[in-house]
Amino acid sequence: MTFAQAIIRRNRLTPSYIIVTILLIALVVTGAIVSDRFLSWRNISNLFQQMSVLGLASLGQTFVILLGGIDLSVGSIVSAATVFLANFLDWRPDLVWVAIPFALAAAAGIGALNGYLSVRLRVHPLIVTLGMSSIIFGSSLSYRKEPGGSIPPGFDVLAFGSLWGVPIPAIALFGAFAIAGVWLQRSRSGRSLYFVGGGFENARLNGLPVTRITTGVYALSGFCAGLAAIFLVAKTGVGDPRIGAALTLQSITPVVVGGTILAGGRGGVFGTFLGVLLVSMLNNLLNFSGVSSYYQWVLQGVIILIAVGLRDKGGES
């Protein structure tokens, strides 16, 4: 067994990881040729700062897709949470330690409702979360039509600060993915997530508490959206009811690029991490070279098609 095979076995890697890794290497090499500042510490910090919001949203989306579902309310939850945080903190800047837990709990609560409703009403999560997204979006707009609010001084350390030279958003992102990886592979609830994703009825016949698992996983997706909102508001300083609109679909891209299949039951957070890195690095590089953001979208689309099109589809059906 070669070293590469050993790694593949240990991490249950599928060839999509390899494709993404090759694309990543190609990007790094291109970046290094195009600009000598691309691989500078400053740009790398910048990259991780940009990655954190997308990364956290995609992390939540990974759990839901592994379950065989999808969460279309991620963007609305992020927007609503930024509106709440910026306006609440504008009113009572001293209550940061109340605002943050409350925002996270509310985001998780909305997610839990998504999951519970989709099981109980037997409605596809695509529809439940689409409806929920609309409700939340409309509610935030009715409260604040324009970006507004503020954050207390020092809050932006979450976005721009660093600890021992490492950007805080990077620490948060690595931490969240590491915990998630261990959780999925080692914990009982993580394994149960794969079972439900592999077959809902089947999981029920194996005695697994399918309603509780589904509710919990959607709650986790909401929680991750809440976390993303905290880092986003730390960066922008305002609450914006529209800021997350594009994030819903963006959060799905790294998941599928990273090899998690939409049918559920197969994949993992490591692939999503690579996917987030790929998408963010691509945008970063294009920004760097002064390419218009329109082409960023085009190239992102091309990358999705390459990564998903070339991967091993063996046994997916």
């Binding site: 914990s187 592999g198 077959g199 039951g265 197969r266």
Partner: protein, 507 residues
């Protein structure tokens, strides 16, 4: 003998590492039902795929209607009159019978638009010729499996076929539906159509076939007229085993163990009415009956996967008011479902995960999984049930059907120390694997487990069960034990009330 419809000579087909067909000769005469027999992996499917144009042989010739042919695609073979009716039907469930049958040649009306009226008329007359009372306007998804199969056959007949290949058509139907299928096969035979018939059920082959060709490990064992072989001969040729070696011996005297499962006047849904039965420690009780007689529904109700309307279920004398899969598993009850792919295995996950799925408690400590314990359990099951899997981490979807079934069996056998419910425990596995599974079932019973088994294969019911409960139309039609159990007596009870029944119509 007349010139054959198709003659295959010296067919070879290799896949990397496997020789799937090795110098096989095979011919079907017009007006002949030719059975193709062999264990899973013997090469039957590959041979039919070669005839139907889905697989190109590496060597050998195909002579069809007197001409040498090389099929470039299944479509070409179909256009020439070869139809393969696969076990998994290729119908569109949301479309009507008529739309499915005339899929590629919808009759046109004025303006070149599709004419639903002409379509209905043409299809209805084709269905009437087959002698099935299926409305041409019915939606496929609303039909029983048996009726869907008839639609598939009607679809083949519209194209005026010369050679029909049936790939295990009776795996999904039973009783009168089988009779109807056989009648139609004989009717087609009398029209001079050549028919290839694949089945694992020897009785059916004796009933319907004229000749039989046996394959083993991709090689031709021989072609014989059906009259020249006995059942034992066939099994011998196929696996090199004799019939009495298939079923393990029963205990010398019937078990007197205590009652583990008692079902009293159970009603659940439309299919279970007033059912009572019991299973003792160490006893194998079979529920026999037609597909749709309520057998599976009884099993689901006992396990707690189906809502109960009235009646009582007790395990070890203790009534279970609101059973659910979780509670049942906790009481040492296991349920091997008939649908291995959708309600059985997690095909994308490892063998180990699949084995421990209903028993996560056992390998959990403080919310974390003990992976080495999981591996140990899986390894023990893999060797105990001789599952051919390279490692506990192998994906179950990558294993053969027989090994998948053994994984499923080993999962439930491990946790079911009181009652093991088996719904079609040997569906889709070859004779070799069947024999192993029969031995495992008997050995579990010998260890004191109560076994409740559902099977459509009469030979299995008669050969393995200590007692047989026969169901018909949701009710218990009778109970047989000892010398009274025979294929005939079971059948008589199973069809008793069925005579006035609804076979061949929409559910």
């Amino acid at each position: 003998m007349t010139a054959p419809v198709i003659r295959l000579t010296g067919i070879e087909k290799s896949y990397p590492g496997v020789k799937s067909l090795d110098n096989v000769d095979f011919a079907v005469a017009p007006g002949e039902i030719h059975a193709l027999l062999g264990e899973n992996g013997a090469g039957k499917s590959t041979l039919t795929a070669v005839m139907g144009g889905a697989v190109k042989p590496n060597a050998g010739t195909i002579e069809y209607l007197g001409r040498n042919v090389v099929w470039r695609s299944p479509k070409e073979a179909q256009a020439a009159g070869i139809h393969v009716i696969h076990q998994e039907l290729a119908l569109f469930p949301e479309l009507t019978v008529a739309e499915n049958i005339l899929l590629t040649e919808q009759p046109r009306g004025p303006l070149g638009l599709i004419s639903p009226k002409a379509r209905l008329k043409r299809v209805q007359s084709a269905l009437d010729r087959l002698g099935v009372s299926i409305p041409a306007s019915a939606r496929i998804g609303d039909l029983t499996l048996a009726d869907q199969q008839m639609v598939e056959i009607a679809k083949a007949l519209v194209g005026e076929p010369r050679l029909l290949v049936f790939d295990e058509p009776t795996a999904v139907i039973a009783g009168r539906e089988v009779d109807l299928l056989f009648d139609n096969m004989r009717k087609m035979r009398s029209l001079g159509i050549g028919i290839v018939y694949i089945s694992h059920r020897l009785d059916e082959i004796f009933e319907v076939a004229d000749r039989v060709t046996i394959l083993k490990d991709g090689k031709l064992v021989g072609t014989h007229p059906i009259g020249s072989l006995t059942r034992d001969d066939m099994i011998n040729l196929m696996v090199g085993r004799r019939l009495e070696q298939i079923f393990p011996p029963r205990p010398a005297k019937p078990t007197q163990g205590q009652v583990v499962l008692a079902v009293d006047r159970l009603s659940a849904g439309d299919r279970v009415k007033d059912v009572s039965l019991s299973v003792r420690e160490g006893e194998i009780v079979a529920i026999a009956g037609m597909v749709g007689s309520g057998r599976t529904e009884v099993a689901e109700a006992v396990f707690g996967a189906r809502a109960v309307e009235s009646g009582a279920i007790s395990i070890d004398g203790e009534a279970i008011p609101r059973p659910g899969p979780r509670q049942s598993i906790g009481r040492g009850v296991g349920f091997l479902t008939e649908d291995r792919k959708d309600k059985g295995l997690f095909l994308g996950l490892s063998v180990a995960s699949n084995i421990v799925a209903p028993a996560l408690d056992e390998i959990t400590r403080n919310g974390l999984l003990d992976r080495s314990k999981e591996s140990d359990i899986a390894r023990r099951q893999i060797s105990g049930f001789s599952i051919a899997a390279p490692s506990p981490e192998t994906r179950v979807g990558a294993l053969s059907g027989g090994n998948q079934q053994k994984v499923l069996f080993s999962r439930w056998a491990r946790i079911a120390d009181r009652l093991l419910i088996l719904d079609e425990p040997t569906r889709g596995v070859d004779v070799g694997a069947k024999v192993e599974i029969y031995r495992m079932i008997r050995s579990l019973a010998d260890q004191g487990v109560a076994v409740l088994m559902i099977s459509s294969e009469l030979a299995e019911v008669v050969g393995l069960a200590d007692r047989v409960v026969v169901m018909a139309q949701g009710r218990v039609a009778g109970e047989l034990y000892g010398d009274d159990v025979s294929e005939e007596s079971v059948m008589r009870l199973a069809v008793h009330t069925q005579d006035r029944g609804t076979a061949g119509t929409i559910q």
